[in-house]
């Protein structure tokens, strides 16, 4: 049984709920859906799982973009209701007939809904029975699927199962889902595959009109498209991975003290004061040139099917309802543009899906082009994603911790060679400038030379460093360092950890232990701004491992990002977007050079501009 079905406006007013179903929902699944799925540009997903004490719900939704309405169905996850998608689209169609912006009560929808639910349930029943009948279509997809399956990687395996077995339970496929927002309460499932398949095998009953069928067909063929494309994508990924070389020694680095030999020369250590850290200046992280709307549009492939004149006419007349096929060329172009900016492919795809979901069915205004509408929607989405949802005012948090008489602990984590220690020193320098006493903890007890490197920074900045040499458990070193910091009243402890690949199980376990044991105030992921598709893998695996290997029920995950080598990437700022999207954590610092002052805040607006340029 359905748990509840709600209809509400984008503004947040509930217009209709089913009173018969009226059982009180446990927790607040709707708010969770909105906050951690719809507002995180994941509305292209097919379902959202919500767990609260004593309830595990699955939520499905659909938008009516022109009217600004959202339809959400909630059911117990164990029930695997098959008719929900069908029901939602029927409800959407019927309700939009009744809808009037001034109206807030729709009692007359009660009866309609009862009827729709009955019909949908009946159709689902019938579908179960008449399965053999639907075989021909099904076997075709199966074949397609099998061919693709041979070449396909893990990522698509989960989806594949869904499409070949058509009464498959959606709930089981969370494992096929790779993208995960670590901070969200629920988990989202893979992309819309069940949808088309379930519907396809529904026999043509009276409630189906031709246009709907046509839509279904186009959906199915589109899906096959993606299947045939998929293997290529996988290959691409592999090659980039293989070619990836971790550059351990950046050329002519003023701040690089990796070489233990350099340590001998420390008698000539100079206390540095290189002036104000760039964190404190009004920064423009990337070039801020204005986008020329017209110019970029002319370069875009327009909808070729329609002639210039008819599209012109339509743009003057306005009020064309946007369909998915209209959006596709513009979205494709946008996706490509994002990818040239180094946004991970998966994420560009997801964003485009989400933008499509927010535009489908909308009416195009007069004198507006599809491409500019899509562009505007994407711009808004990007701005939303990059706007931090947690405070990035570290100084404030440091002061708060100080009041409680505790040192503020920051753990720097990341893969090898991204510049953890160097940027740790920059953060230390910035904190020092604000009269905050800092202590470093050398918990990279793994890579030789790491401790010396950090010691050199500490000497130059004249701050205490806590070290216990190598071959020690870093978790214990960190603990002792924090104790030491409370004793000598340091305000902040910056913990340096060994760089580790996200797949290195023992090292990830050690990191998880360090974090669980010490409960730092901030886990800062240090990542290179140069990474492309790998950014997703790194961050999601780090978060995944931290969650899996944690012993507590509410594991500490990555809560901030430090992007390094930002000066070397020109306009390829995509990693910032990929990392923020995948982790939900904001970019707190940007490292952009080789001196201590080269630390900046991220300028969200200019990043958005650069991404869409």
């Amino acid at each position: 049984m359905l748990e509840q079905l709600l209809i509400f406006t984008r503004g947040g007013l509930i217009l209709w709920t089913c009173k018969e179903l009226g059982n009180a929902l446990k927790g607040s699944p709707i708010d969770a859906l909105i906050r951690s799925c719809l507002l995180e540009e994941r509305s292209g997903d097919s379902a959202f799982n919500y767990d609260a004490a004593g309830a595990s719900y699955t939520l499905k939704w659909t938008f009516h973009n022109e009217l600004g309405l959202i339809f959400v169905a909630i059911y117990q996850r164990i029930l695997h209701l098959l008719y929900v998608d069908d029901l939602l689209s029927m409800v959407k169609r019927e309700f939009s007939e009744l809808y009037h912006p001034k109206r807030t009560y729709y009692e007359d929808f009660d009866d309609i809904f009862r009827q729709l639910q009955k019909e949908a349930e009946a159709r689902a029943e019938e579908m179960k029975k008449s399965k053999p009948q639907a075989k021909p279509v099904e076997s075709l997809t199966k074949k397609e699927g099998q061919i693709a399956n041979k070449k396909k990687g893990v990522l698509l395996a989960g989806k594949e199962k869904v499409s070949s077995k058509d009464d498959a339970s959606e709930g089981n496929h969370t494992n096929g889902h790779k993208l995960e927002n670590g901070n969200s309460n629920g988990r989202e499932l893979g992309t819309k595959t069940t949808h088309a398949d379930v519907k396809k095998s529904v026999p043509e009953s009276g409630a189906f009109d031709v246009s709907k069928l046509r839509k279904l067909r186009s959906k199915a063929s589109k899906k096959m498209d993606t299947f045939s494309k998929a293997p290529k994508v996988e290959q691409n990924k592999k090659t980039t991975k293989k070619n990836r070389v971790w550059d351990d020694s950046p050329s002519e680095s003023k701040l690089d003290f990796t070489d233990p030999m350099a340590e001998k020369g420390t008698e000539a250590v100079v206390v540095v004061d290189q002036g104000e850290s760039m964190m404190d200046r009004e920064e423009i992280v990337s070039s801020d040139s204005e986008i020329d709307e017209d110019e970029e549009e002319s370069g875009k492939p327009d909808n070729k099917k329609r002639g210039w004149f008819s599209s012109m006419f339509q743009s003057i007349a306005g009020k064309t309802v946007l369909e998915k096929s209209d959006l596709e060329p513009a979205l494709k172009a946008l996706k490509d543009r994002l990818m040239t900016k180094n946004v991970a492919e998966e994420i560009a795809e997801k964003l485009c899906e989400s933008v499509a979901a927010s535009l489908e069915g909308k009416k195009l205004g007069s004198f507006t082009r599809i491409s500019s509408t899509v562009q505007a929607a994407m711009e808004e989405a990007l701005l939303r994603i990059l706007t931090p949802k947690r405070s990035v005012d570290i100084l404030r948090e440091v002061h708060a911790a100080k009041e409680q008489g505790k040192p503020y602990v920051v753990v720097f984590v990341g893969v090898n060679g991204v510049g953890k220690s160097t940027n740790l020193a920059k953060v230390a320098y910035w904190l020092l400038q604000h009269n905050i006493s800092v202590m470093m903890a050398a918990c990279d007890t793994f890579r030789s030379g790491a401790v010396e490197q950090l010691r050199t920074h500490a000497c130059r900045l004249q701050i205490p460093i806590f070290e216990k040499g190598y071959e020690k458990d870093p978790a214990v070193v960190a603990k002792e360092a924090i104790q030491e910091a409370s004793r000598n009243h340091s305000d902040v402890v910056l913990v340096d950890t060994a760089g580790r690949m996200q797949d290195n199980e023992p090292l990830m376990r050690a990191l998880s232990k360090l974090i669980n044991l010490n409960g730092p105030d901030l886990v800062l992921f240090v990542g290179e701004a140069l990474v492309g598709n790998d950014a997703v893998d790194q961050l999601s695996k780090f978060n995944q491992k931290l969650a899996d290997l944690s012993t507590s029920s509410s594991p500490m995950l990555i809560d901030g990002i430090l992007l390094t080598k930002f000066d070397t990437i020109d306009d390829k700022v995509g990693a910032a977007l990929s990392m923020v999207y995948i982790s939900g954590a904001p970019v707190m610092f940007v490292g952009c050079g080789q001196s201590y002052t080269d630390l900046k805040k991220l300028n969200v607006k200019s990043i958005v501009k650069t991404l869409l340029k």
Binding site: F8, R10, G11
Partner: protein, 243 residues
């Protein structure tokens, strides 16, 4: 003769056209000027879940209908306040905007602030302590915005949900917010020393922060959107948007 007549007609037509053009442009300019000087926009801001949308519908319809969920888009409406609909005479409608509180949607606020005649900052008095710091940060950001400072937009800090007995008093909330903002002042000033462009320092330096130090008028009020006790908001609105 005919030619001469023609000419007269043409010149006359031109004059008429010019005159019409002139009048419409003057009217248009006047209209613009009029609109600019007498903004009737009231902006509702505050953290997610503080009760803005409920308040919005109370102001508009005198009812919170069947409840609300987290807003994804602003609610906007020009209407005569519900409590004034029974009054006789012509009443000027108010343009009310409810800006979603989710932090991802905050950039939207700037779009409306430039035309605001007043801002209501809604605070959840029931669940205040866990949200105190976040609320203070949001309020700080608003109070230091150039558009707010330059135009001296009056702010009402509205302690909502007072229907519940466990709700905190408005004095307590005011003091806590002042305390938090005082701390923010030091940390934020440190972060943005050099960037004078859009940030303004709050209050009097050397003294602990009080809302009375602000250049714009900041007052504190109470309400309960749920039960419809919203007289203090309505009073605030009518103070700044004359009917």
């Amino acid at each position: 003769m005919e030619q001469w007549l023609n000419q007269v007609f043409i010149t006359q037509e031109v004059y008429v056209a010019l005159a019409v053009l002139f009048f419409t442009s003057v009217l248009f300019l006047l209209f613009r000027l009029f609109r600019r000087t007498k903004s009737n926009t009231i902006v509702l801001a505050g953290l997610s879940g503080s009760g803005k949308t409920v308040l919005f519908y109370q102001l508009q319809d005198g009812s919170s209908h069947q409840g609300t969920v987290t807003s994804m888009d602003p609610n906007e409406g020009s209407f005569v306040l519900h409590s004034e609909t029974s009054k006789k005479g012509k009443i000027k409608p108010v343009h009310v905007v409810d800006v979603p509180g989710h932090s991802r949607l905050r950039p939207k606020l700037d779009e409306f602030l430039s035309q605001a005649a007043g801002l209501v900052f809604v605070v959840d008095a029931l669940d205040f302590l866990p949200n105190c710091r976040a609320a203070a940060e949001y309020l700080y950001d608003i109070l230091t915005k150039a558009s707010v400072v330059n135009k001296r937009i009056p702010v009402l800090i509205l302690c909502n949900k007072t229907d519940k007995v466990t709700a905190h008093s408005k004095d307590f909330i005011r003091k806590q917010l002042e305390k938090e903002i005082d701390k923010l002042r030091t940390s934020r000033n440190a972060v943005s020393e050099a960037d004078i462009s859009n940030e303004f320092t709050l209050g009097v330096s050397g003294q602990s922060f009080m809302f009375s130090h602000c250049v714009n008028k900041v007052t504190v009020g109470e309400s309960s959107g749920m039960t419809g006790e919203i007289s203090q908001v309505e009073q605030f609105i009518r103070e700044h948007v004359k009917s």
